[in-house]
């Protein structure tokens, strides 16, 4: 499973999304995630990937998140 597919699974717990519809360029704004959804998603990603995710202005797209989670 790719990182983006894993992210899709996590976001799927909050929002209904078409499987396979998430792309690196998809923004969290398009997904209509508000600020607390974002933090919750970041926390769930931290649990799954064991990486720290800061929710800030650099975290705009699914690709931004995948890059953090894939970093060594």
């Amino acid at each position: 499973m790719t990182t983006i597919e894993k992210i899709e699974q996590i976001i799927g717990e909050y929002k209904e999304i078409e499987p396979g519809s998430l792309k690196a360029e998809t923004t969290f704004e398009e997904l209509e995630l508000d600020s607390l959804d974002l933090v919750d998603m970041a926390m769930a990603c931290e649990d799954t990937f064991g990486k720290t995710v800061e929710v800030d202005e650099n975290l705009k797209t699914v690709g931004d998140l995948a890059k953090i989670l894939d970093a060594a």
Binding site: D34, S35, L36, L38, V39, D40, A42, M43
Partner: protein, 322 residues
């Protein structure tokens, strides 16, 4: 030494401020507030004061416990602040109920009631006291920036009280502090000496300033870790818990914590929709409502868990013995 909760009481100001009322004051809407916080309305002091709410709650708790003012031998008030910087709220309560005993305030923000249970347990352990009155009264509308739509929707006013005596009902207690003023603070400065060094906290109307995301993250972790550890330490299964009384800061925090814990959903006591965040008064108000409505059974296990400015946290396991 441990404690027994002998009686509980609460009091709210009469004025109900609805989300629609707020949407006429700042740029917000009922829908926005409800979906992001779970709050529909909160009570705001008009003719009431922090002291008057404290006294109303205290008298109900004393009546519930069947104790009179001359039997109260310590008054402890967890609060962000009474009506005066000095005298303390506790002194106002002591005089107001007509008790002759020591009295002091204690500030652990929203975790204050749980902190107070621990302090009361230690005081009772000295053998010098038999009946301790704990009163949390919070006038948060005084620290709310009514032009800031991010925080004005969150807070309310109210008071909750408990009378405590010696017993063995407190089964577990864990308190913590993680000092950091950045995510949540209110500057405690009014006047400023002209030659005071720059860089120190500047007067800011003593308003709450908050980074909601940071608080959310901290709170969800604090509650889930706190309660999981409490149950493990006590050898309790999630199903052994009769009711859970969480600090009510945001419904989204409560929902996220509930999702991570295996305790049945209906065992969480919730009143955030009606009162918003009333800091240290939250848990005793909830306890009083659930007791008043006959929802608590004698002998059942209660888990209390709070978090707040500081940050502070507190989680305890108490047997309800009424």
């Amino acid at each position: 030494m441990s404690i027994s909760i002998l009686g509980v009481g609460s009091a709210l100001p009469k004025r109900v401020l609805t989300n629609d009322d707020l949407s006429r004051m700042v740029d917000t809407s009922d829908e926005w507030i409800r979906t992001r916080t779970g709050i529909s309305e909160r009570h705001i002091m008009m003719e009431e004061s922090v002291t008057s709410m404290a006294l109303d709650a205290a008298r109900l708790a004393m009546e519930d416990a069947g104790v009179t003012a001359d039997e109260i031998d310590f008054v402890l008030c967890p609060t962000l602040g009474g009506d005066y910087l000095t005298p303390s709220l506790a002194c106002m309560v002591q005089a107001g109920i007509g008790a002759e005993c020591p009295a002091m305030d204690m500030n652990a923000a929203c975790s204050g009631f749980i902190y107070s249970l621990h302090i009361a347990s230690a005081l009772l352990g000295t053998g010098a006291y038999r009946r301790i009155l704990v009163v949390s009264s919070e006038g948060l509308s005084r620290f709310t920036d009514w032009n800031d739509r991010g925080t004005a929707v969150l807070f309310g006013d109210g008071a909750g009280a408990a009378v405590l005596g010696p017993g063995d009902d407190l089964k577990y207690m864990y308190l913590s502090a993680h000092g950091n003023e950045v995510p949540l603070h209110a500057v405690f400065t009014q006047g400023i000496f002209p030659e005071r060094q720059p860089g120190l906290p500047e007067p800011d109307g003593m308003f709450f300033r908050m980074d909601g995301q940071e608080v959310y993250k901290f709170a969800v972790n604090a509650i889930t870790t706190g309660i999981t550890t409490a149950l493990d330490t006590c050898g309790l299964k999630p199903d052994d818990v009769g009711h859970v009384f969480l600090h009510q800061a945001n419904m989204r925090i409560i929902d996220a914590a509930r999702k991570k814990l295996d305790i049945p959903q209906e065992r969480y006591a919730i009143n955030i929709d009606k009162v918003g965040n009333i800091s240290a008064a939250t848990i005793p108000v909830l306890l009083h409502w659930w007791h008043r409505d006959g929802l608590l059974k004698k002998g059942e296990i209660l888990v209390l868990s709070g978090f707040g400015g500081g940050f502070t946290t507190g989680t305890c396991v108490v047997r309800w013995n009424r």
